[in-house]
Every structure is written in C-alpha cells, then in structure tokens.
C-alpha cells in the first residue's frame, strides 16, 4: 500500500503552569492510501495532540514541536508555513470530523449557508478557480459555481442519508438531532474530496444504535471514495468495527501497531493485552490494570508503561524499546508471544 501520510518520531511538549507536559514522546505512525487507521488509547494518551499536529492546529504558543516530521504528499507539514497549510491542505486535502458537531456548527446560520460557505472556499471547483486577487472575504462566489456546489451538497446529503435534503438545508443546527448533525459534519468532511479525513471520536457522544448507523455510513463512504482516515477513539469496539489497522498509544508513546484482526487475536504489548482484558466480559467482571496513568509532567523514563508492567526489567526503565516486528509492530523488550512469533 502506498503511504499517504507518515509521522516520524514526533515530540510535542505543552507548557503549563506546573511544568512542561511531555505529550508526545517520539511517536511514529503511517497511513496508506485508502486505509482506515484507528488511533486507540485512553484519555490523555496524546491521540488528540497527534491529530492536531497533523492538522497544523496545535495551540500557539502553549505547545512546542521539539522533533520529528509529518510527511504528506511531498511536504513536511511541520515546516510548511501555516498560511500555506491553511490554503492548500487543511480543509481541502485533509479534513476533520469533530466529536461534538454542535460545537463546530455555527448556531446562528442555516446548515445550507454553512455548507455553501465551505464549498465557496474549499471545494475542488474553488481550487480549480485559483486564488482571487481580492482579499478572501471580498472574493466573489460566481453563481454558476454556486449552483454546481449546491447540487453537490444535495447529492452528498443523500449519500449520508439525510431525509429531505432540501428541507435540511434551511434548518438551524439545533433543529437537528445529534445523529443528524453528525451526518452533516461527515458530509462536510467529504465534500472537499480530501485524501485524508481525521475523525476525532466521531461516535463517542452517540447512542449505540445511532453509533452503528454512523459507523456503517462512514465506512461505506470512505471506502467507496478511497479516502484514507485516521480514526481516534478510546473505544476498542468502534476500532474493531471500521479500522483496517490499529495503532495503540499509552501516555504519549506509540506502543503497538497491527492489522485489526491480528491485533485483537493476539496483542503483543503488555499494555494492549491488559487493555483488552479490561473490556467488560460476558463471564464475570473484567480485570483492571493496577496503578494509574502517569503524569506527563514527570513521566517514567524509558517505556512509560514500565511502572505498571508485570514484565518490566531494568532496561525498560532506561531507554524506550525500539520498534520490532514486521506488519505487527510492537515497542517492547518483552513482547507477548515472542517465543512463538517474530523475534523481539
């Protein structure tokens, strides 16, 4: 599979009143063309920081990128000027689906107005038209293009199964249900015909039957259009549902990456294995992971999971384990199943 995006050894710190928060500690991740990658981890593990770094929206000056690279179509997103990212990449080649659509839709404008605004600036037709000499806010929206964009919006609303698309365009966000709003922002993420969608826990706030509908819709549409997707979630169940590959993070470090079936059948990192054991079971209460997630202000040296790890030895407390394994990557000195599988 051709690589679309590659994050390499990314280190991101936040400055806080209590000290430097080491949010990402040398994280690597790759997404192939048309691939759906699940970025899985518990709260505070750095999944949203990574998503923000890719989108170029890390808070300034509170955050600081210390090292690493994000390669996307021949560019390094970390060195590209932010105006350039805003114009060529964000919202056009890389789009975003938020967790809470209510927070990203303007409550005072109709759905139709907001979708047309998006198309005005970010549609493929807008890209073809090139840059206007006028300042952005004054540039015209030619009526022919507007009509085409409107047709494209109605098509897309049909694809995301909004009943009565024409009527939906005239509604304000609060007049739609949570599930409908999530369908609208999915449509808005697909409309610019992006190469990559970053979806940040898009179904967390939804009920389980609506979640099933939205997951199915999202999976069908990205696969049909061959769009890649980075799907962050804390829920292993949703990762299982729609991801081709899963990357697990713990306290700012990537610990394991594997194709979804292999990952769920035989996790290799001790943390991942514990995480799977902590899922509710049908035959009694699940096992918890002793200890708590460390503070990222003074994180443990080496592998950040070592204070809670049954297998930890001295080397785990000194340096971070290197990457090992082929398609099923694990960063651990003592991976599970090491004697039977790939050499550690």
């Amino acid at each position: 599979m051709t690589e679309l995006l590659a994050v390499r050894d990314l280190i991101v710190n936040y400055h806080s009143e209590r000290g430097i928060v080491r949010a990402l500690d040398g994280v690597s991740l790759a997404i192939g063309k048309g691939e759906v990658v699940g970025l899985v981890g518990e709260s505070g593990c750095g999944k949203s920081t990574l998503a923000r770094a890719i989108l170029g929206v890390l808070p300034v000056p509170a955050s600081e990128v210390r090292a690493g690279a994000i390669a996307f179509g021949g560019d390094n997103l970390l060195t590209l000027a932010s105006a350039e990212i805003a114009r060529r990449i964000r919202g056009r080649r890389i789009t975003f689906i938020p967790q809470d659509p209510y927070g990203s839709l303007n409550p005072l404008f109709t759905i139709g107005q907001q979708m047309l605004d998006l198309m005005h600036w970010k549609s493929p037709r807008a890209a073809a038209a090139g840059r206007s000499a006028w300042p952005a806010v004054l540039s015209r929206y030619p009526s022919a293009r507007r009509a085409q964009d409107r047709a494209a919006i109605l098509d897309m609303l049909g694809a995301v199964q909004i009943p009565n698309p024409e009527q939906a365009l005239a509604k304000l966000p609060h007049e739609l249900s949570g599930g409908q709003r999530q369908r609208i922002v999915i449509a808005m993420a697909l409309l610019p015909q992006p190469e990559l969608i970053i979806a940040d826990e898009p179904t967390t706030a939804l009920d389980v039957t609506i979640q099933a509908q939205i997951l199915r819709l999202l999976h069908r549409e990205v696969k049909r259009r061959q769009v890649s997707m980075l799907f962050t979630t804390h829920d292993l169940g949703t990762a299982w549902e729609i991801c081709d590959r899963v990357v697990v993070m713990y306290a700012g470090q990537d610990v394991e990456a594997a194709p979804t079936p292999a990952f769920f059948a035989a996790p290799r990192h001790p943390y991942t294995s514990k995480l799977l054991e902590s899922l509710p079971r049908t035959d009694g209460v699940a096992q918890d992971i002793p200890g708590e997630i460390p503070s990222l202000i003074a994180p443990p040296q080496g592998c950040r999971f070592h204070p809670r790890c049954y297998f930890a030895t001295t080397e785990c407390t000194i340096t971070r384990p290197p990457v090992s394994g082929g398609a099923h990557v694990v960063r651990c000195y003592h991976p599970l199943g090491a004697s039977t599988g790939v050499a550690a």
Binding site: D207, I210, Q211, Q213, L236, G237, F264, S278
Partner: protein
C-alpha cells in the same frame, strides 16, 4: 428472587413545558427489585432511565403510581421519616466525587453524612469512616487530604464511601462508569461487586452501556421512551432477547473480535419525539415486525419465560 425490597407500580413523571405540553419521561413503570439483586436499567439517551431513578427516590415528584420500599410507601414523606428512608436508600450520581466540598477534607466530608443520619458518638463515627474508606481501597492517612489532592478515580471512591458509611440497603447508581476509560471502568466495576458482596447491598444500576450491564447485573430491565419494554435474568435477555427493540439494541453493540455491527445491525431511524409518542406500541415506527394491531393496542409486559417479560404482541 427473594422478597421485593423496592416495589414500583404505574410510576409516571411528566416534565411540563411552558406551552402546556408535557414530556412523558417515565410513563407507567412497574418494577420490583428483590433484595440482593443487581438490577440493570438500560436504554438510550432520553428513554427516561435517570428520570426513573430520580422519581424513585423522590428528587422528582411522581405524577402517578406508587413506590414502596421495604413494604412501606415512601412518597410524600417529610422530615424524620424521609431522612430515615434516605439513609437506607441512596442515590449515587454519575460523578460521585463531584459531590465533595472542595474546601472540606475528605475526613470531614465522610463524617458529615454520619452526623446527619446517625446518632453515633465521635469515636464510633471515626471507626465507621475508616472502615468504609478501607472498603473502597483508600488509606486512613488520606482523611486529612482535600479533594483536589487526590485523583478523580479516588474522588469517586470517596463519594461511594460517603454513601456506604450509612450502611444503606439499596443503592441507585446512575451511570457510575460513563466517561471513564475502560481500565478505570474495570477498577470501579470490580469495586462495586466487592462492596455489593461485603455489605449485602441491592443495586439498581442505571446505564446505557450494555456490555457493562451484562458483566455485572443479575437482572436487566430495558427501557424505551419512558416504558420498560423487556425485563428478565441477564443471561435470558442477552442470549434470548424477545422484544424487537432489545434485539436491535444488542445487535448494535460492537464485540471486539466478534461479528461486525456495520455488517449486521439493522435498526434504522431515530427514536420519535417524546412529545409525540406513537399510538399503540411506541416502538412500532421503527419495528420490522409491526402489524396493524401495534398501532391500536399498547402492549403490556407479559411473561414469556420464568422471570422474563416483554411488552410486545409478537414476542
């Protein structure tokens, strides 16, 4: 099932809107909770499960129906009688830790409940506080700390200890694990089961998470739009659901490593407006089995197997 500790009949609560219309959030609920059970109340947002919990303890007034606890009605009590019931019937909010006063030490917060509800002398209160603190897995030397000095998970434990110190009979737990990461959730569930055994509690476990309910409850009641549509032993509900809504709900739960919901779940559409509940069976608009009868006759819970009831004409 042993004798019912809590008996609910025809309970309703309506939220009135300014324009005179009313949302029937809880609409004729019959329920019996036996001593020693962990009864799960499951359903999606807006089905009325939290309203049911709050109506049971009287935080919200009942518009209809009766609630009997230990055989005696507990509605419209006041003063001493109400206080006596409350010490044995406790409600635990989702984030129990948020109920702690940030300017009080943990020890003082724990002591307060005992001062209000019991006549124990100081030394015995102290002993009781230390005992419950140990039961939730915290140390006595944490009594002098303030809530911000302990983690969120520990705050929840203190919140639980505060309720347990009164030695209640029945706890109503409202979404006790929602918003928690799975590893922390497992810790809390383990703790709840341990406390359930240690104190001989009865738990009413309100949750939207079917996997959690399946893992700890002994019996389950499924709610849809203010009604209980199916109730039965956990194993029966999960392996042989009878109501079409329960079936669709179960089919939508992801099972990591198992079948994929996106290939199999079939429930389309969204729950109707609670201001405009369909006539007859309230699930009929989304139900694949719906017949003309469903539009005219409102099904009531009927027994299908021992302890297993469903409100459906065709279950």
């Amino acid at each position: 099932m042993s004798a019912a500790l809590l008996e609910v009949q025809g309970l309703s609560h309506r939220f009135r809107l300014k324009d005179g219309r009313a949302v029937r959030a809880v609409d004729g609920v019959d329920l019996a909770v036996g001593a020693g059970e962990i009864l799960g109340i499951v359903g999606e947002s807006g089905c009325g499960k939290s309203t049911l919990g709050k109506t049971l303890i009287g935080v919200l007034g009942a518009d209809d129906g009766t609630v009997r606890f230990e055989g005696a009605p507990i509605q419209n009590l006041d003063g001493t009688a109400l206080r006596a019931v409350r010490s044995r019937l406790q409600y635990v909010y989702q984030d129990a830790g948020a109920a702690l006063d940030p300017r009080w030490t943990i020890g003082r917060s724990l002591d307060e409940a005992l001062v209000i509800h019991t006549a124990l002398p100081r030394a015995e209160r102290d002993a009781r506080v230390r005992e419950t603190l140990a039961a939730v897995g915290l140390h006595g030397d944490q009594l002098s700390l303030y809530p911000h000095e302990i983690s969120g998970g520990q705050q929840r434990r203190v919140g639980l200890a505060r309720v347990l110190a009164l030695h209640p009979k029945l706890l109503i737990l409202d979404e006790p694990t929602s918003g928690l990461d799975v590893s922390v959730q497992a810790t809390i569930l383990k703790l709840l089961v341990a406390l359930w055994k240690q104190y001989g509690l009865t738990l009413l476990f309100i949750s939207h998470d079917l996997a959690v309910v399946r893992s700890i409850c002994t019996r389950v009641a499924v709610m849809y739009l203010g009604r209980i549509v199916e109730t039965g032993p956990t194993a029966g509900i999960f392996t042989n659901p009878r109501h079409p809504y329960t079936k669709s709900l179960l089919a939508a739960v992801p099972l990591p490593g198992g079948r994929r919901v996106i290939d199999e779940a079939w429930l389309e559409g969204e729950p109707p407006d609670p201001l405009d509940i369909p006539s007859g069976c309230r699930f009929r608009n989304r139900c694949p089995m719906a017949q003309p009868l469903c539009a005219t006759d409102d099904p009531t819970l009927r027994p299908l197997a021992p302890g297993h009831n469903a409100a459906c004409h065709f279950a």
